[in-house]
């Protein structure tokens, strides 16, 4: 695959086009240190100096935050033409980070002006008066702007002889973020970030003069609703216990060591870390990250800089949840189940031989009457493009089947048709940049903050700066939607299709229809819409009706690469339909085989149902959590029953516990590859740690080899060459889905329709081993309307039992403004997985009852 240079028509996942250079508007010409420069009107002097390569010390200035002029470190001498046109010196040095360049201005920095230099030295001396000399223990020591600029623009020795001001330290703002107030230089980068970018203000300036400090809010501030973090935390400005998904960014932009993270505190010093660029594996946003490791151990991850994707921000999950890759339950050698029924370590050759023999036996059983015939592949949703492609090719070439489905979550045939029709092969159709430019964005089945953190930040930026209107079809207005100043189009679960069809026809939704009709409007649908019959069909119809562009924003990192690589039973790589014989011939020619299986395969649910019924001979399973599947109990039984199970896993899991052969594969830090964002943007990343672990595509190549089939996917280069050769598909596409909306379920008294979505931080497997991060997760609650609460007889804050025939979940009830007869639960909160406990998903009818009194009252 050509990641860097290819035309969009030939490559499976083409490279991102170069952003068009915006025509320059009015310009201003002025001089810095005697160098004439021309910059767009409104450019700050400090930015213009940066472009000329002139260094001006600064702390509060950050290109992505509004100018503050808080630290006063960037003082420069300024001469500007007065009213009479004569050049006159401004009486005092000016802060260059708040000063816009004006025509004819002459700026003299510390390099040419003794006055500016003296002023900067003075500011630095004042900043250092109360700054403790604890650089040897400070996490920032070695990469500290204050340390560096005190050396470059400060006095060599101190004249301060008094006692420094100290504070008790550190304050735990949350379980993850710690604040050492005495190190703070009051630059307000953190407060400005949380106000301007994330929108969850949790700290602010307090007191005045020498006592001024960044502080958290007093616990006596009362009255919060909802989202409380699991762990102990301070309260934010609105009195809610602070639970932010973006708080780690404040640690990174703090120019001193005032904000530190509990996970990295005292673990290392910057000078013994080795940094590798990477791409976050927790969502389909493709955030650029920096992986810092020492002696083969990843110690921290930082946000990388990529203006087209994540700018300089990442979610806390991307930043802190990396310990899963080196968890104690990592599988390091192949495992084979022995005669006694126990998994025991084996050599690669032995394990591959056993796996190949088992798969061959599953395809052609000795006993012709055996009903358990055939092998299916469930690759899981966290794959790189290369690995996804290898799973698809393995299934179709080595196993001769289209029974491969990368969707490890609730799914539907309608969704499959939608993905084949609208998503596959249409890369970079809607991008992050379009979020900025759109006049209105409609979110359907998508909770941006929880499921698409970077898209949320980009949207919020667009809302704040460009007045973008955000609309959401959901059961309730979450705090994330509130922070987007969004409009809720309330829809009980299962009725989303009805609401979408109502836009343009229903007079009460006329304003929405008008917004979506304006040029550039977007409709973003989430993966949850698969659970709504007719949802995707309605979304496609809506897009056609209004002219708004439609994009699919899945949650997991591997969802888009699975679609592009053809990990769907009816879809081949590049959007080629299985049903299209021309597409099959094209692919067979590229793969050098006689024919590609023509029969449409089975979906994840159908595969598991077949295995459960004893109609499947073998399964090859990738990184898949059974609890994520629509019915985990059925999946467990299915895997217990399937005669032969091969698992490719990083860590011990429920699948490996049931597997006959376990083949260890490399986690993202130990392999290179390409993640694909929801936009279809390829995000290649290098290998961070040296390792003997093999990526999935190498393992599958060797497994196919043991089966006597040559896949030719041994190296990343080979996969890329093959993807390049294969290219995209310009033939007929899968037809658009057209499924009628189902009738809303009848709700009996004492029951309600279940609404649910994933929270960013929950009981997910990739967050295990990170207790500081787990403490910042939102406290799981059940949300019901006041009417429903009264009908059930539950007080706000009391326990609410939600049950089905399969089981019961009891969570504290929170009365929320939302439709009656609907109950919202977090999908996979730690210890309270909805699918695991109730065996149902959004749209199902569940019973409500007052819970036991032992449920902890909300704190």
């Amino acid at each position: 695959m050509t990641i860097l240079s290819s035309g969009p028509t030939t490559s499976l996942v083409p490279a991102a086009p170069v952003a068009p250079v915006e025509p320059a508007g009015e310009t201003v010409s002025f001089t810095v240190d005697g160098i004439e420069t021309e910059v767009p009107k409104g450019t700050l002097v400090i930015r213009a100096a940066e472009q000329l390569g002139i260094q001006i010390p600064r702390f509060c200035d950050h290109p992505l935050l509004a100018p503050a002029g808080a630290c006063r470190q960037c003082l420069v001498e300024v001469w500007a033409p007065g009213r009479d046109g004569k050049l006159a010196k401004m009486p005092k040095p000016q802060a260059s980070c708040t000063l816009e360049a004006t025509p004819g201005m002459q700026v003299k920095t510390q390099h040419t002006s003794p006055e500016a230099d003296k002023a900067q030295h003075g500011v630095m001396e004042l900043l250092l008066i109360n700054h403790p000399l604890d650089c040897p223990v400070c996490d920032k020591g070695g990469e500290c702007p204050l340390q560096n600029q005190a050396m470059s623009n400060g006095r060599a020795s101190t004249r301060f002889v008094d006692v420094k001001r100290t504070f008790p330290k550190p304050i735990a703002i949350s379980t993850q973020i710690l604040l050492d107030r005495e190190r703070c230089i009051l630059c307000q980068r953190c407060t400005r970030f949380s106000e301007e970018i994330a929108g969850d203000v949790f700290i602010d300036l307090q007191k005045r003069g020498a006592n001024q400090q960044i502080g958290t809010f007093d616990t006596s501030v009362l009255g919060f609703v909802g989202d409380a973090p699991l762990g102990a935390s301070a309260e934010d400005t609105s009195g809610r216990p602070f639970a932010s998904y973006f708080s780690g960014n404040t640690v990174q932009i703090c120019p001193v060591g005032a904000l530190t993270s509990a996970a990295y505190r005292f673990r290392s010093r910057p000078f013994d870390l080795v940094s590798t660029p990477g791409v976050a594996e927790h969502d389909a946003q493709g955030s650029a990250i920096r992986i810092d490791h020492r002696r083969g151990v990843v110690l921290r991850r930082l946000a990388g800089e990529d203006p087209t994707v994540n700018q300089e921000w990442i979610t806390d999950k991307d930043r802190f949840a990396f310990t899963w890759q080196s968890a104690p339950d990592r599988i390091t050698t192949p495992l084979v189940r022995n005669a006694a029924g126990e998994l025991e370590p084996a050599s690669w050759v032995e394990a591959l031989d056993v796996a190949a023999a088992g798969l061959q036996a599953a395809q052609q059983p000795d006993d012709p009457r055996d009903t358990a015939v055939g092998v299916a592949v469930l690759p899981g949703g966290r794959l790189t493009l290369e690995d996804a492609y290898a799973y698809g090719k393995f299934a179709r070439v080595a196993l001769g089947t289209n029974d491969v489905d990368g969707r490890a979550r609730p799914h539907s045939a309608e969704e499959e048709a939608f993905l084949g029709h609208h998503v596959a092969g249409r890369t970079l159709d809607v991008t992050f940049a379009d979020l900025d430019r759109a006049p209105a964005v409609l979110l359907v089945g998508l909770e941006a903050e929880e499921e698409a953190g970077i898209a949320f930040l980009r949207l919020r930026d667009a809302v704040v700066h460009r007045k973008v209107r955000v609309l959401s079809v959901a059961a309730l207005a979450s705090r994330g939607l509130e922070r987007l100043s969004g409009t809720l189009l309330p829809a009980a679960p299962g009725t989303e299709a009805e609401v979408l069809d109502g836009i343009g026809t229903d007079p009460s939704l006329a304003a929405t229809a008008e917004l979506l009709g304006s040029a550039g409007a977007l409709v973003l649908v989430g993966e949850r819409l698969a659970g709504v019959p007719g949802g995707f069909s309605a979304a496609v119809r809506l897009a056609q009706r209004t002219g708004a562009r439609l994009a699919w924003v899945p949650r997991r990192v591997g969802e888009r690469s699975a679609v592009e690589a053809g990990l769907l039973p009816s879809l081949l790589p590049g959007g080629r339909p299985v049903a299209d014989s021309a597409a099959r011939v094209d692919l067979a020619a590229a793969w050098g085989i006689d024919h590609v299986p023509s029969e449409t395969g089975r979906s994840t649910s159908e595969i598991l149902a077949a295995a459960h019924a004893g109609l499947l001979g073998g399964l090859v399973v990738g990184g898949l959590e059974l609890a994520d599947l629509p019915d985990p109990a059925l999946a467990r039984e299915a895997l217990d029953r399937v005669p032969f199970l091969v698992s490719l896993e990083v860590r011990q899991s429920e699948v490996t516990d049931r597997a006959d052969v376990v083949l260890p594969v490399a986690p993202p830090t130990e392999k290179s590859g390409t993640f694909v964002t929801w936009e279809g943007r390829p995000r290649p990343f290098p290998q961070a740690l040296s390792s003997h672990a093999m990526a999935d595509h190498r393992v599958l190549d060797r497994l196919a080899d043991a089966l006597g089939v040559e896949l030719g996917l041994q190296t990343l280069e080979a996969v890329h060459a093959e993807l390049d050769q294969l290219g995209g598909w310009d033939g007929a596409r899968v037809g658009a889905p057209d499924v009628p909306a189902s009738e809303p379920p009848v709700v009996a008294p004492g029951s309600a329709v279940l609404a649910t979505w994933h929270l960013l931080l929950d009981g997910g497997r990739l967050q295990s081993g990170e207790q500081f991060l787990a403490g910042t997760a939102k406290r799981p609650v059940a949300r019901i309307s006041a009417g429903t609460a009264a009908a059930v007889g539950v007080q706000d804050g009391a326990g609410l039992s939600v049950s089905t025939d399969a089981g019961t979940l009891t969570l504290p009830a929170v009365v929320t403004e939302m439709p009656d007869h609907v109950v919202w639960l977090p999908t996979n909160a730690a210890g309270a997985g909805v699918r695991d406990a109730l065996h149902v998903d959004a749209g199902a009818v569940v019973r409500l009852a007052p819970g036991p009194r032992t449920v902890e009252a909300r704190s």
């Binding site: 223990v137 505190r265 005292f266």
Partner: protein
């Protein structure tokens, strides 16, 4: 003398006869003035006064006098390892991780020694002090400390870098071992022995003090509160009053003990 010569010398090619090649050498020697126009060096004049006639006569046997006179001087040969002479006080020997007077470690795990080390011989990892595991004053202590004596060049830059004077050098120079791994000293090998009045870490800081008070030397020994804490948490600690005593507490680390055995054996073998 310089003025007797020609002030400027042309390249030798113009005066081929002026300089003959030295005997046995194929190449003509460089002219004494290496650079064109360089100032002529002054001629050498000995400062030693010329000898008298008697000295000149005895000169051939004068050398024996040196030998004879040394035969009556005290010998400087050291009978190492039979007799071990102490090194000079500022000799750069192996390192030691010091303790404060109450037994807390001075090392804060800041890694500045590792950063300063030109031979990359030091490896440090820091960790949090917790109320249950307070090993040094303040928030941070060194949880892993390794010095590789196969790499160390004993330059002492590490001890200069140490902000708490935790790392100093002893006069110990006998560093030998049969294995490479045995030359990597761990924290327990490097920690200074406990002295009287010290309590083995971990234990809380002296009540009401900060790490700055420790650094200033205002802590002079373990307090009753610290003793009580250790009594509660480690009743068998040998450094407690009435405990097994310092000898029981100061058990050298494995690597240090192995090296001590090696050195003792080598000493025995080499001693007469």
């Amino acid at each position: 003398m310089a003025d007797q010569r020609k002030p400027v010398r042309k390249p030798t090619a113009q005066k081929p006869a002026a300089q003959k090649p030295a005997q046995g050498k194929a190449v003509a020697p460089r002219p004494r003035t290496g650079e064109v126009g360089a100032v002529e060096p002054e001629g050498y004049t000995s400062l030693i006064e010329p000898r008298g006639a008697v000295s000149e006569f005895l000169a051939p046997v004068g050398g024996f006098g040196v030998t004879l006179s040394n035969m009556f001087r005290p010998t400087v040969t050291e009978q190492y390892p039979s007799e071990k002479v102490p090194a000079k006080p500022r000799y750069h020997g192996r390192h030691q991780l010091n303790r404060y007077a109450d037994g807390l470690e001075k090392c804060i795990g800041c890694e500045l020694c590792a950063w300063a080390c030109p031979a990359d011989a030091i490896y440090v990892e820091g960790a949090d002090n917790t109320p249950d595991n307070q090993r040094s004053p303040g928030e941070r202590y060194g949880s892993v400390y390794q010095i590789n004596y196969l790499r160390c060049i004993f330059c002492g830059l590490c001890i200069e870098a140490c902000p708490t004077r935790a790392l100093t050098m002893t006069n110990e120079y006998e560093l030998a071992g049969p294995t490479r791994a045995g030359m990597i000293w761990e924290k327990q090998d490097l920690l200074a022995p406990l002295r009287s009045g010290m309590l083995q870490a971990p234990h809380p800081m002296v009540e009401g003090t900060t790490d700055t008070d420790y650094y200033r030397g205002e802590v002079t020994g373990a307090t009753p509160a610290q003793v009580a804490w250790v009594k509660e948490h480690r009743p068998d600690d040998p450094t407690l009053p009435g405990g097994a005593g310092l000898d029981a507490a100061n058990v050298p680390g494995e690597t240090a003990a192995e090296m001590a055995r090696t050195v003792a054996a080598a000493t025995k073998q080499g001693a007469r």
